[in-house]
Symmetry: C2
């Protein structure tokens, strides 16, 4: 049964070779986003900070990498029935854009309170959007029903080998681009929700930058990966938690992502909403970049001094830039 | 008299070799800013648009290139007396940052109504800032007086061979980076004030992308270069003109820059303030980049359909990102 074999393949942690294959599939489709360096930021921290600007990626976040790498591997027989995803927005856009390129239908189940820009963009890529209520509806039930009714394939946001391998191409690029800049990062900070980008980058760096430390950065009340790494087992976030970082609100680490991260990731940092807002304002004023809250957590950790960069070379991900202008306007006003 | 010989050298249009030498001087100091490409923008215009993001340059605009290249060539005897510049802000920051790196004093004469972020940043680089009133004071007289009193060297914003050669390194990078992307631009659009960036890039492209068309983009009421190119002689802007593009308000083309541009530049485009604001909002929402008004004029020309990009490869400069957050907040609100 070839379909089952393929399904199983994605139930495993990807290898370094899987990431190389993903890079081949993504060539010409994903953007090789720049690894940016700013004299002003280096001077501020007394070290070298290299910023992987995935905010400049197709669809405005790294999520396109994993989505395209996963969907392009769908067997022909499954393609016509399309794909289903649930997401607050960045995975939604990644799946919608990849499906549009590959010419297959996509249904995205999004919370009614997702950022407007993410809902609008997802629809603009041609996907059918079904909104649900976070408190009263189950997105899993809605997704399951659509998969059953239409024979569609569920594209999970992070707990999938094809997704993790796709996100790992971001790590490959960081290693190559740092070398081109004459830099060797000793640490990589990764914006962490479910842990897919972290796992992919950690697997890529184990081979391309051996010895480098990989750390996650999460919102303070959504630091499930930090606590899980410390405890050596998967821990959930408190259901009553809240954060401005809509992209990083996964309830707990994925099984696959945690299986990879527990051996490859050294630990995690956590930042407060106020530190994230300060980082967004700094990105606007000094870096001239638009970052969404979840895309600014690593920068926030550096600016808030949660990691000492003095005399070191620290690479970090700026994972996305899909933010409602109204929120940015408020942030800029508050941080004036 | 070596000093006179050096002074004369900067009174000539630079050669392609001067730009190569400038690139050597700038290596390790200026940022090789990325040449960005977005699937969404390409699809919108039906062609390929390559964006040279000088907004990500040290000091937030391309001006650092020329300033550093000019100041680093000051003879030892002149260095201790420092440099003087007048500028609404981007040249000011470029000169201030270059002087700080080279450890010599800088005085910057700025209009009292310059964007606050530009005044603040110029001071932060350690320069002495003297504010003048656009209507009642003569910035030239103030600058001359300081040069006489202190024996300082005036660093002109564009009409100087060292400045033009420095800005030309931007053109060199565009040619190399386009090649790395597998693209060959048939047209380059350049944000144009006094014409220094245009002249430098045109000289660089004549050799590196022979046959490519270079065009300027200016604000509608500051289209002196467009009109001068058409007339074959230097024409001034109306003194009563106004534009949101504070970086592009030169009264007329420079003598050196026009001497270069009249033979190398095909013509000019002009954009309205409203088109510039729409481009700034597009940059925020789709490109995830912060652009100042003057840095957004080429993008505005493309988005407003002033140039047909269908089936073509058009490179353009995003020349700066030094914009007051309050202005951006207003633009985002108006363009919502």
């Amino acid at each position: 049964m070839p379909d089952t074999a393929i399904a199983n393949q994605f139930d495993e942690v990807p290898t370094f070779d899987d990431i190389l294959h993903a890079a081949d599939r993504l060539r010409g489709w994903a953007t090789e986003t720049p690894l940016l360096e700013y004299a002003a930021l280096n001077e501020l921290v007394g070290g070298r900070v290299l910023l992987k600007a995935e905010s400049l990626q197709r669809t405005g976040s790294f999520k396109f990498r994993g989505a395209f790498n996963r969907i392009v591997q769908l067997p022909e027989a499954q393609r016509k029935n399309g794909v289903v995803a649930f997401s607050s927005g960045n995975h939604a856009q990644g799946v919608a854009a990849a499906a549009a390129i590959l010419n297959l239908p996509a249904v995205i189940v999004m919370p009614r309170d997702a950022p407007k820009i993410k809902v609008r963009n997802t629809k603009a890529y041609g996907a059918e959007v079904i909104l649900y209520d976070r408190l009263s509806d189950s997105r899993e039930e809605i997704g399951d029903r659509i998969c059953r009714e239409r024979g569609a394939t569920l594209v999970r946001p992070y707990d999938d080998g094809g997704i993790i391998a796709g996100q790992g191409t971001c790590g490959l690029e960081i290693a190559h681009q740092a070398e081109a800049l004459g830099a060797r990062p000793d640490t990589l900070l990764v914006c962490c929700g479910g842990g897919g980008l972290t796992a992919g980058c950690a697997i890529a760096l184990e081979r391309t930058l051996p010895g480098a430390t990989v750390m996650t950065v999460e919102p303070i009340d959504y630091d499930d990966t930090r606590r899980s790494l410390e405890a050596g087992q998967i821990l959930r976030n408190d259901a009553s938690s809240a954060s401005i970082c809509d992209a990083l609100l996964a309830p707990q680490p994925g099984s696959l992502t945690f299986a990879a991260n527990k051996s490859l990731v050294s630990g995690g940092l956590a930042v407060a909403d106020q530190e994230v807002k300060a980082a967004m304002a700094y990105a606007f004023r000094v870096l001239k970049l638009v970052l969404e809250p979840g895309g600014a957590v690593c920068l926030a950790a550096v600016l808030a001094g949660k990691i000492d960069c003095a005399g070191r070379t620290v690479a970090l991900t700026l994972s996305g830039g899909n933010v409602d202008p109204d929120l940015y306007r408020t942030v800029l006003q508050d941080q004036a």
